[in-house]
Symmetry: C2
Subunit: 216 residues, 2 copies
């Protein structure tokens, strides 16, 4: 199955399809029309069909989708059955709370194998009841031994910038990035998904302050 | 200034422009060409000009942008000088760590005036050294007295769904939403920005697992 031509927008919508199908599955829904799925997800039925067609299509025209099968197939496309080794860099409040979410990694194709911080107060503390936070100075040696591919970046932008080259040279090629530093700016062969909390809050600020104009 | 026709994509790019200009400003850059700004932000110069034209345009053809002025003007468009009253619903690990980010609200147009949780372990604890977490049962009375307009939703999806109608009826019309519940599905006159950590992690999973195909 070739996915060469899949656009970023489609890729960004796939996790949402997967999540909604998971909710339907848990509610006991076994079959759903593309129209009904579209209504619930606030997209058009044709959008869903087009998106799924990028992967060969799964619809049964006239019979709707088999929820369990579609959920499973989208899950495989997303790679939820993988266990890509990952490390957390920055085990402060944000890093800990993100990693503390139930089943966050196990259900989404990653496996946490290490956590690092430079603060003496945090080094040696335990994460998720089983993972001891190691000194940031040990990252290089750890990566050489255990070959993580993904890093969750929960340190400030300037720190992330300093560390970037080391991480990439150690074989880390995927970043779940909360730092505001843009890893793809200097490094071409890495994947990064940036979660910028401040930016999303500013978007909300815009929406609130311009709602009246939009309605005018 | 009318912003009636501003698209969601432009709105989502504005905070990023604002953030980059802030970084430039802190680095002492006073003037930048649209070409150089575009290069740093990995968009095209024409994209930046088009986006800014939605708000009347700020460019000085041939002279580039005045960084301080552009930063200030985009800030005003985003509403960073406002102090819209906001409450946190769910003061567990995620809620606390989000609100614990330095200057998160003050610099982005909001003001935290209350925090609520239903766990006896969390009620009565202090947030950000000055805000005492109140029982979730007190939300209604608090909203009637203090009229918050925005709520940061850090509770599970099913809990958010139960609470949604109450919050909207109390005048909350903006949601910074970490819950996975879609507030705009049932309520039309509210603004919501959803941060779905799980979805963003799945997007990264997709990117990592399909990188070789994309390169093929």
């Amino acid at each position: 199955m070739s996915t060469k031509s899949v656009s970023t927008s489609v890729i960004n919508r796939l996790p949402r399809y997967y999540r909604y199908l998971g909710i339907l599955l848990n509610s006991g829904v076994t079959r759903i029309s593309s129209k009904e799925l579209a209504h619930q997800m606030k997209v058009t039925a044709s959008q869903i069909r087009q998106d799924l067609n990028c992967f060969g299509g799964f619809g049964q025209q006239g019979y709707g989708y088999n929820v369990e099968m579609l959920h499973k197939e989208i899950g495989q496309i997303l790679g939820v059955d993988k266990a890509i080794p990952a490390i957390l860099i920055g085990a402060g409040s944000l890093g800990r709370s993100i990693m503390g979410q139930d089943d966050l990694f196990q259900k989404r194709g990653f496996k946490l194998i290490g956590a690092f911080d430079k603060s003496p107060k945090i080094i040696g503390t335990t994460l998720k009841d089983w993972l001891v936070v190691q000194p940031a100075d040990d990252i290089v040696e750890f990566c050489r031994q255990h070959h993580p591919r993904m890093a969750v970046i929960c340190i400030p932008r300037t720190e992330a910038e300093k560390l970037a080259e080391t991480l990439v040279s150690l074989g880390i090629d995927a970043f779940w990035n909360f730092s505001g530093y843009d890893f793809t700016y200097r490094f071409e062969n890495v994947s990064a998904v940036n979660v910028h909390l401040g930016d999303s809050l500013l978007t909300l600020s815009y929406l609130v302050n311009h709602r009246d104009e939009d309605e005018a």
